[in-house]
């Protein structure tokens, strides 16, 4: 396993054990649930890392003797230069949230804004 994966596994095991110990010391439910939820977060990442290639395979950066020049000319993929969609994504989210305060009438407006921004966001990242 790579260092990163080991780290996530370690975190998950720690949180799980802490949760078990906590339960048997205190019999207090909220804290136990919190510890176990904490255990899940790194566990999900570790599971992904073990199952899927990007983190499982050995990578050039883990090779202590690698030379950055070896990667010269390699195409990393596209990097976006500009995007405006995050602004609309936030406005949509705020509108949905504000509907709880100012009336549920705002929900369709917020949802429309949010979906529109999300679609724009996704289309942009494809193209």
């Amino acid at each position: 396993m790579r260092v990163a994966t080991r780290y996530f596994v370690l975190l998950g095991v720690f949180a799980f054990l802490a949760g078990v110990v906590y339960w048997f010391i205190t019999y207090e439910s909220v804290g136990t649930v919190l510890f176990l939820a904490f255990a899940c977060t790194p566990a999900i990442i570790a599971w992904f890392a073990i199952r899927h290639g990007s983190m499982r395979d050995r990578r050039p950066e883990d090779d202590a003797d690698a030379d950055p020049a070896e990667r010269a000319g390699e195409v990393l993929g596209p990097f976006p230069a500009e995007t405006v969609w995050p602004i609309f994504l936030v406005l949509g989210s705020i509108t949905i949230g504000a509907s709880l305060i100012y009336g549920l009438i705002l929900v369709p407006l917020g949802a429309a804004l949010f979906v529109w921004a999300l679609l724009g966001f996704t289309r942009e990242s494809r193209g």
């Binding site: 790579r2 260092v3 990163a4 780290y7 975190l11 720690f14 949180a15 906590y22 010391i25 205190t26 207090e28 909220v30 804290g31 919190l34 510890f35 939820a37 904490f38 977060t41 790194p42 990442i45 990007s54 983190m55 050039p60 950066e61 883990d62 090779d63 202590a64 690698a66 030379d67 950055p68 020049a69 070896e70 990667r71 010269a72 390699e74 195409v75 990393l76 993929g77 596209p78 990097f79 976006p80 230069a81 500009e82 995007t83 405006v84 969609w85 995050p86 602004i87 994504l89 936030v90 406005l91 989210s93 705020i94 949230g97 709880l100 305060i101 100012y102 966001f121 942009e124 990242s125």
Partner: protein, 544 residues
């Protein structure tokens, strides 16, 4: 656009200064980093102004300039702004700017997500400020902890608390997005040869911070959402009369709240750990031990939350006392790493180093008083007094904010290509250091003498007058320091004394590129054979 690594070296073309609109929508990590830092600093000015109003009110006994209600809003918004909108986002800004540079990547892993996390933070910040200025009787005034039942609609009517909750939830979303981005970049975008054990300490610390953010923010967002549901849709989770329990909220909130203080301090542990070795002309003493200490802090910090609840009588105090005392060990170890890095060095007292030393001196006091507060019997007395206020300001202001100034003076030349003034920088440091200690040392005395926190008013003639007066004078001194600092920034941006690529003789990769770095960071990467690739390049003789 498509990016390749290691384009052939070419003469840097004069880059046109990007317009403001471009800056607001550009996904370049350096741009987003600067956006984060500048906005966070503006929030700092807002939060600082609120603090000055509070100190002015408390300068003398009895009430002078604000009403009870306004005072309650002041400390609510001050706390929220400083924690959620200044220190943590400033660290995110540094992380956005520095992590790709330090690991030799052309950008963050998800640039669009990165810009989104920035805008969620801004959106949340604006909502929090709106919550503070909502019309009379409507503003958020329930403390930054927003404990129910106080924060329920019958005791805190009005839209202020709702806007506040929405704001914090947006900040939580932003933190999670940013955390995913940092982890992916640090784990998957490193340059060849940059193994995990060669990653700079700042990057490592931000990795731990990112994980803490991923773990700690969702429960708090859930807790706050339940609060909002209680306020607006009739939820009863926290209602004791309906069979709920208000202490559930405290668990959820402090499960965020305590890792959050490490989210606030670990980045700046990282910052001074970058700075101290550079200005001591030494390698970091005990890199591996330091890292293990950071990882241990990261783990233990998730198991200490209920030391904020020692006086509630609903938690197991010995368990949390043990965990809290234990976390003092890795923190103590770091002090020896820092001293060890200076020991045997050739220390250059440049401004970033001065702020780092200030950090050490202040944070130590925050640390030892923290150990006292970890003991439940002591906490029964000190909880919710000015002793606690002084303690956490010694860690967050004396620690994190000194770390922020150290970082600004250290990386400003890299970010802008212009040097800040050494002379003014020393003045800022002196004013801030003296002002800070004048402000908060007397607050330990106040706490010892029994002054509760969050009191708009206090009785005269029982030992509270002088410490409060001194404290207020110190607070004004800090305001002067900030004004001088802003003048320094303005002056250097006008004069533009060129910094060169590496004004300090830095160690990590950001010093191996131009200032400011080109669009995708590196025209050419040096070989990475240790934690200090830039140093190795400049000192071929002492390479390992």
């Amino acid at each position: 656009m498509t990016t390749t690594i290691d384009r052939p070296p070419q003469a840097p073309a004069p880059r046109p200064s990007p317009g403001i609109v471009h800056r607001l929508v550009s996904t370049d990590h350096k741009n987003i980093g600067i956006l984060y830092c500048v906005s966070a600093f503006i929030f700092f000015l807002v939060g600082g102004a609120l603090a000055e109003v509070m100190r002015t009110e408390l300068m003398e006994p009895s009430r002078q300039i604000v009403s009870n209600e306004t005072y309650n809003t002041l400390f609510t918004i001050h706390g929220t702004v400083m924690i959620f909108l200044f220190v943590a986002p400033f660290a995110s800004g540094l992380a956005n700017y520095l992590i790709p540079l330090q690991v030799g990547a052309p950008d963050m892993a998800f640039p669009r997500l990165n810009l989104s996390s920035f805008y969620f933070f801004i959106g949340g910040g604006i909502l929090v400020l709106l919550a503070g200025v909502a019309s009379a009787g409507q503003a958020a005034a329930m403390g930054w902890t927003a404990y129910p039942p106080l924060s329920e609609i019958r005791l805190s009517p009005g839209v202020g608390p709702d806007l506040w909750i929405l704001g914090i939830v947006l900040v939580a979303i932003s933190t999670v997005m940013n955390g995913v981005n940092i982890l992916t970049t640090a784990f998957l975008m490193r340059a060849p040869g940059m193994t995990m054990w060669r990653m700079p300490i700042f990057t490592w610390n931000m990795v731990v911070v990112a994980i803490l953010g991923l773990v700690a923010f969702p429960p708090a967002a859930a807790g706050l959402t339940l609060l909002l549901i209680g306020r607006r849709l009739g939820g009863l989770v926290y209602d004791a009369a309906a069979g709920g329990d208000p202490t559930i909220y405290q668990h959820l909130f402090w499960f965020l709240g305590h890792p959050e203080v490490y989210i606030l301090i670990l980045p700046f542990f990282g910052v001074i750990t970058e700075i101290i070795p550079v200005f001591s002309r030494r390698p970091l003493f005990g890199y591996t031990g330091f890292l293990l200490a950071t990882l241990t802090i990261g783990m233990l910090s998730t198991g200490v939350w209920a030391h904020h609840m020692f006086t509630t009588g609903v938690v197991d105090n010995p368990f949390f006392a043990a965990m809290t005392l234990l976390i003092a060990v890795p923190t103590g170890v770091k002090f020896f790493n820092w001293v060890g890095s200076m020991w045997g060095g050739k220390i250059w007292f440049a401004v970033p180093m001065l702020f780092s030393i200030g950090f050490l001196l202040n944070f130590l006091i925050g640390g030892v008083t923290g150990v006292m507060l970890a003991s439940p019997p002591i906490d029964y007395q000190a909880h919710d007094t000015y002793f606690v206020v002084a303690h956490f300001h010694y860690t967050m202001l004396g620690g994190s904010v000194f770390g922020i100034f150290a970082a600004i003076y250290f990386w400003f030349p890299k970010m802008t290509g212009a040097m800040l003034s050494e002379r003014l920088g020393r003045a800022v440091f002196a004013l801030l250091f003296v002002g800070f200690n004048l402000t908060f040392w007397p607050q330990f005395v106040l706490g010892q003498r029994g002054m509760p926190r969050r009191y708009v008013d206090y009785a005269s003639g029982i030992g509270y007058d002088t410490p409060n007066l001194v404290s207020t004078i110190g607070a004004y001194l800090m305001a002067v320091a900030v004004v001088v600092f802003l003048g320094d920034v303005w002056r250097s941006l006008r004069r533009r004394r060129p910094a060169g690529d590496d004004p300090w003789g830095g160690y990590s990769l950001e010093w191996a590129t131009s200032s400011p770095p080109p669009e995708h960071n590196f025209d050419r990467l040096p070989k990475i054979r240790s934690v200090r690739p830039a140093f190795d390049r400049n000192h071929p003789g002492s390479a390992p």
